[in-house]
């Protein structure tokens, strides 16, 4: 159920052609050097054939010496040429990979939020790690090997042709079986190896999650269940590995048996031609040695071809991200007022049925509005419409008369911020973690933002704002991370805040600390709070009760209590047997 697109064959081919075309000169130099290196590599067997002919003809020792020195010279030349071919090839690969990955991250950062949310971060995370790395390895390591080995193969077979065209034709005798085996294998291998990788990852998951949840395993007596589950994963891993082994069990023997065929054919035909004086003994022996030499590059191509195929599959997924239309740069003028107005807003998710059935709501600048209602009433959906993350199916959400989704995204974020349970500490320094909210902020401003939200811990960090956070460096607790998120808000300084159960997932101790920090951020802003605690509603200027996708009640706490509707009922039951609720 992937939502992000995957590039098709044509797209991948075009991207590859572009990649080579962009660095045309380097590609030409690399190919030239590789060809020259391979030609010097071919000289050794040819010279060996010469030596044999000389020895058969009863040549002098000095002739043998000269030819041997020539062999040594060729080997040295091959080494040098190969060195530079490899070096420039490596540089080309590095450049190509760097371009691909930077482009990927750039495009990822410009994905519309709604696409990211619908796709989930799992798919994108795989693309950013597994696929980008696979493309990197393929472009940098696999493609050069295949290009080089293919060049060697071409030259080796070409050399046999040069020795004698008939010998060359004969040399191809062993190849059809190899070709068929490769085709058969490639059709099946990628899926099988991907399944193998997935099964291994699942076994690792089973083991790590069991360790992570060790307390739950003990408390709920899940030991036997976890062992049974893990055993199942071990069995699944074995099943996928047997599948790839079965593929290799067909592929390897067919290809390896094929290795003997060209040599056998050459010897047989060579004997025939030799009897008729069409070729020399040296030429036949050299041809046999060339073909013997061809086994190694052939094996190399076969070994990597499957990985190359997988690399191209990854490339298709990496390129796919670029096919999403990036978030539009809004055209609307910056609105003068900060009044948020919802008119007749309806909204439905992809399954088609409406979550919101015509919402009308005006949020006055500076007011505190609480939105309460049962789960599934559409509270979070309304919050997303207000923040401009989604556009209503019909109706409008405007700020100062301008539809929020028409605002430039950056502009919008400066005005309206949505705070959810999610928070994220980026890998990087504390400064990096704050500054993106306000790129021009000074260290003093960063520090005061941290003070505002009561992040005392920041002062105790060993290297202050330069302390590295995340990924094995200094890890922040949930409350600290949430405070960091709030400090970003102080820096971004939006006039309207939408809080969607910002502290609901925290444990009570942490929640309490975070709430105190939050209070400091709210001062002087318009606040819309999705609340599940009724005391929040009690303290708000107005309360909107949302039920079944409609606003059923709207007014201040005392007004709603007087109206005696569902809100009043809930308020009373919330206070249980307490008789002095009126005192609150």
């Amino acid at each position: 159920m992937t939502i992000l697109p995957v590039a098709d064959r044509k797209g991948v081919r075009r991207a590859l052609v572009d990649l080579f075309a962009a660095d045309r000169r380097a590609v030409a130099v690399v190919l030239g050097l590789h060809t020259a290196a391979s030609i010097s590599g071919l000289a050794a067997p040819w010279l060996l054939g010469k030596i044999i002919d000389e020895v058969v003809a009863g040549a002098s020792a000095s002739a043998v010496d000269r030819l041997t020195l020539a062999i040594a010279g060729c080997v040295l030349a091959q080494g040098l040429l190969q060195r530079f071919a490899q070096y420039y090839g490596h540089r080309f690969g590095e450049r190509a990979v760097a371009g691909l990955r930077e482009d990927f991250v750039h495009r990822t950062l410009n994905l519309p939020v709604s696409v990211v949310e619908r796709a989930g971060t799992g798919d994108l995370a795989t693309r950013s790690s597994v696929d980008v790395a696979a493309v990197g390895n393929t472009v940098r390591d696999v493609v050069p090997v295949i290009v080089l080995a293919s060049a060697q193969l071409g030259l080796l077979f070409g050399a046999v042709f040069l020795l004698h065209p008939l010998l060359g034709l004969v040399a191809f005798a062993g190849l059809p079986s190899t070709f068929l085996a490769v085709r058969w294998y490639l059709r099946r291998a990628s899926a099988a190896y991907l399944a193998e990788g997935a099964a291994s990852a699942e076994l690792t998951d089973a083991l790590t999650t069991t360790a992570e949840g060790a307390r739950a395993v003990e408390a709920l007596r899940l030991t036997e269940a976890r062992i049974a589950f893990g055993r199942q994963r071990i069995g699944a891993q074995w099943a996928t590995r047997r599948r790839t082994l079965a593929l290799r069990s067909v592929f390897f023997p067919v290809v390896e048996s094929g290795h003997a065929l060209p040599v056998a054919a050459i010897l047989l035909a060579g004997g025939y031609f030799l009897n008729r004086g069409m070729v020399t003994l040296g030429a036949v022996v050299a041809a046999a040695l060339y073909l013997q030499q061809a086994i190694e590059p052939l094996d190399r191509v076969l070994q990597w071809v499957e990985q190359a195929q997988r690399g191209f599959a990854s490339l298709a997924r990496v390129l796919g991200v670029g096919q999403v239309t990036p978030e539009p740069r809004g055209a609307a003028e910056a609105p003068a007022s900060r009044e948020l107005v919802v008119r007749g807003a309806r909204f439905s998710y992809s399954d088609g049925h409406d979550v919101l059935h015509g919402i009308d709501l005006e949020v006055r600048p500076g007011e505190r509005l609480a939105i309460v209602g049962p789960s599934g009433a559409g509270k979070s959906t309304l919050a997303r419409l207000l923040a401009g993350i989604d556009a209503p199916r019909s109706g409008t959400v405007t700020i100062g008369g301008c539809p929020v989704t028409d605002l430039d995204p950056a502009e919008r974020r400066r005005r309206i911020a949505l705070i959810t349970q999610e928070h994220h500490v980026f890998i990087g320094s504390l400064r990096d973690n704050l500054r993106f909210a306000a790129p021009d902020a000074t260290d003093g401003q960063l520090q005061s933002a941290l003070d505002t939200v009561g992040a005392d811990w920041a002062g105790e960090l060993p290297e202050g704002l330069d302390t590295r956070l995340g990924d094995g460096a200094h890890e922040l607790g949930a409350a600290e991370a949430q405070q960091l998120a709030l400090a970003r808000l102080v820096l971004a300084d939006p006039h309207t805040l939408i809080l969607d159960e910002a502290t609901a997932a925290l444990d009570p101790t942490t929640a309490r600390r975070t709430e105190r920090a939050l209070a400091a951020v709210l001062t002087g802003r318009t606040v819309i709070a999705i609340a599940h605690r009724l005391n929040t509603a009690h303290d708000a200027d107005r309360v909107a009760v949302l039920d079944g996708g409609r606003v059923t009640e709207l007014g201040s706490h005392p007004e709603l209590m007087r109206a005696n509707g569902s809100y009043a009922q809930l308020w009373r039951s919330w206070h249980g047997g307490s008789s002095n609720t009126g005192a609150c």
Binding site: A44, A98, T209, T210, A219, R242, S375, G376, S573
Partner: protein, 586 residues
């Protein structure tokens, strides 16, 4: 024969030393390992057959013009090629079976260790270590077993080639037999040097990948606050640094690869020169000269196998050490000192530290001014932390742990949810049917969670149920705790993330679901407290008052302030709302 995996019983590993551990993995499958050695040897020796046959074909067929003999030798080359391919795949299959048997066995013992490790494991072990062990260490140890097959084969093949060469010319044999290992030893350090040069690159590359994943994970945060261009620039900067590091690696690597081509190439030239001089002098035949050329190439393989085997052994030892360290963390379960019996019938659970007493069958709420104290109390009651707790008057610490776990359950606020379908998450005992699961979901007011999922109970939920909302997760946790049906159930803030409507329903249903069994709920919400038989007010480490919610609201001013957040009446108490509106007004 393929092994049957997973093993019914992986056996008891030898964890006295890393090499003993690897040896144990081999000892568990002696016949397969033996078969691997035999086939591995046959394959390696078989590799030297083709140069021999080609030499005979040249000498006996081509040179003499005897077409009949040539036909025979060529047929032999084809048959030998097929036989060699067969031996090759049999070797590969057998060794794959050996490695996979070892891998499954290691995975099974690690699985057993982490499953039995218990709550103490989370303190002693980082999940990342388990991932390393599973992701690479287990495989690395299994690869050591390759030495038992082709490793043995390589030694024997080397000997066979030595004998054949000796029969051609003792002098040439000495030159080749000493020369090839010398070259292998010379190239070995070059390869290791390459490994080192690449390690910096790989580390940088890993960091760059982590940064990309980090950006992806934080995309929604960036969407909320902005600042994308800063991240794009920072990533590009790092990517360009990796590019330069890549250039450096390329410069070193390309010289090393050139060396790998040149050194054996020059050696081969020397061998050819010697052989040609000897052939010219009539000491050996032309065919033998060609064969010597082939043998040199063939010998490189077993020598590399042995070198590679050496590296695998070094790497495998490090890996086995980590596996052993993990296995040693697991408790052996026999050391437990049992001094008391669990009560035969439901009995009072008493914590002297706070003075809390849980009576059989009651719904007791604990309202704590400091949530940390309440959590510590719950851990003592469930024997997850040491304490003086008594059960039926006897010390809880002296009772058999398994029985305590069976009868008392502490469900943490964020107790772990394993991945699986929702049914699998909830079905903590195989005998639990859909009817019981549905009843528990009803009690936890979580029917809507199931309804919202596309496949209902069969919908997969991720690790920690990340694809559910906080409120949904909490209700799934509660349903799971109810399904355990313990005699004493201790719940920590089970409704902190659900809306008031849902909380009201849960408070009501929890009561009837736990009818007749003791339930302790740690909470400060009046909705929950109002439904309890008794409410205990925990403050400064002691239970300061115990009564019904209504009574406490009347008589205990601090309690009233705690649950209704009546800030005007008590400024020194913490506020507890989810937005802190009132804090702004203070």
């Amino acid at each position: 024969m393929p092994p049957r995996l997973p093993h019914a019983d992986p056996g008891t590993p030898d964890i006295r030393s890393p090499l003993r551990y690897a040896w144990w993995l081999a000892r568990c499958q002696p016949w397969r390992v033996f078969r691997g050695s035999v086939i591995g040897t046959a394959w390696m020796v078989g590799l030297s057959v083709r140069p021999y046959l080609i030499a005979r074909a040249v000498d006996g067929g081509l040179r003499t013009g005897d077409y009949g003999a040539l036909l025979w030798w060529v047929a032999a080359i084809v048959v030998a090629g097929i036989a060699l391919a067969w031996l090759g795949i049999m070797r590969h299959r057998t060794m794959t079976f050996v490695r996979e048997d070892a891998t499954a066995r290691s995975a099974a013992v690690v699985l057993r260790a982490v499953s039995r490790g218990g709550a103490a494991l989370t303190r002693k072990l980082d999940a990342g270590e388990v991932a390393t062990v599973s992701g690479s260490d287990i495989g690395n140890v299994s690869h050591v077993l390759t030495l038992t097959g082709p490793g043995v084969g390589a030694v024997i093949a080397y000997g066979v080639v030595a004998i054949v060469l000796w029969s051609v010319s003792p002098f040439l044999a000495m030159f080749v037999l000493l020369g090839v290992p010398a070259i292998a030893v010379a190239i070995g350090p070059l390869l290791r040097r390459l490994d080192r040069a690449e390690s910096v690159y790989r580390r940088e590359q890993g960091a760059l990948t982590a940064q990309a994943s980090d950006i992806v994970a934080g995309l929604r945060v960036l969407a909320g606050v902005g600042g994308r261009s800063l991240f794009a620039r920072s990533y590009a900067g790092r990517s360009q640094r990796l590019l330069l590091e890549g250039y450096r690696v390329g410069a070193v690597a390309s010289w090393i690869f050139a060396g790998i081509v040149v050194i054996p190439g020059l050696f081969l030239a020397a061998v050819v020169w010697l052989a040609a001089r000897m052939a010219g002098a009539g000491e050996i035949t032309i065919g033998q000269m060609v064969a010597v050329y082939g043998y040199v190439a063939i010998l490189i393989l077993p020598v590399y196998f042995l070198l590679e085997g050496g590296y695998q052994l070094i790497r495998g030892r490090v890996a086995a050490r980590r596996i052993i360290a993990l296995l040693k963390l697991a408790p052996d379960g026999t050391a437990e000192a049992v001094t008391a019996k669990t009560p035969s019938a439901p009995a009072d659970l008493h914590d002297p530290a706070t003075g809390l007493r849980v009576r059989p069958g009651e719904l007791l709420a604990v309202a704590a001014a400091d949530p940390a104290e309440a959590i510590a109390l719950a851990d003592r009651l469930g024997r997850f932390a040491p304490g003086e707790v008594t059960w039926g008057g006897e010390p809880l610490a002296g009772m058999p742990l398994a029985q305590v776990r069976e009868r008392i359950l502490v469900d943490e606020h964020d107790s772990y949810l394993f991945a699986g379908t929702l049914r699998e998450v909830l079905q903590i005992r195989p005998e639990l049917g859909d009817a019981q699961i549905t009843a528990a979901l009803h009690a936890a007011s979580a029917e809507d969670v199931v309804e919202a999922l596309p496949l209902g109970l069969d919908t997969p939920v991720g690790v920690r149920a990340r694809n559910l909302s906080g409120g949904q997760r909490q209700r799934v946790r509660l349903a799971r705790a109810l399904l355990a049906e313990p005699e004493v159930l201790i719940l920590i803030d089970p409704t902190s993330a659900v809306d008031a409507h849902t909380e009201a329903r849960i408070a009501l249903r929890l009561r009837s679901a736990r009818q007749g069994r003791a339930t302790v709920v740690i909470a400060t919400s009046p909705l929950m407290l109002g439904r309890a038989d008794r409410v205990a007010h925990l403050r400064d480490g002691r239970i300061v008052s115990t009564a019904t919610h209504a009574e406490l609201m009347e008589t205990d001013r601090a309690y009233r302030a705690l649950v209704s957040r009546d800030v005007d009446s008590n400024d020194d108490l913490d506020s507890d709302s989810d937005t802190g509106f009132e804090a702004v007004r203070r």
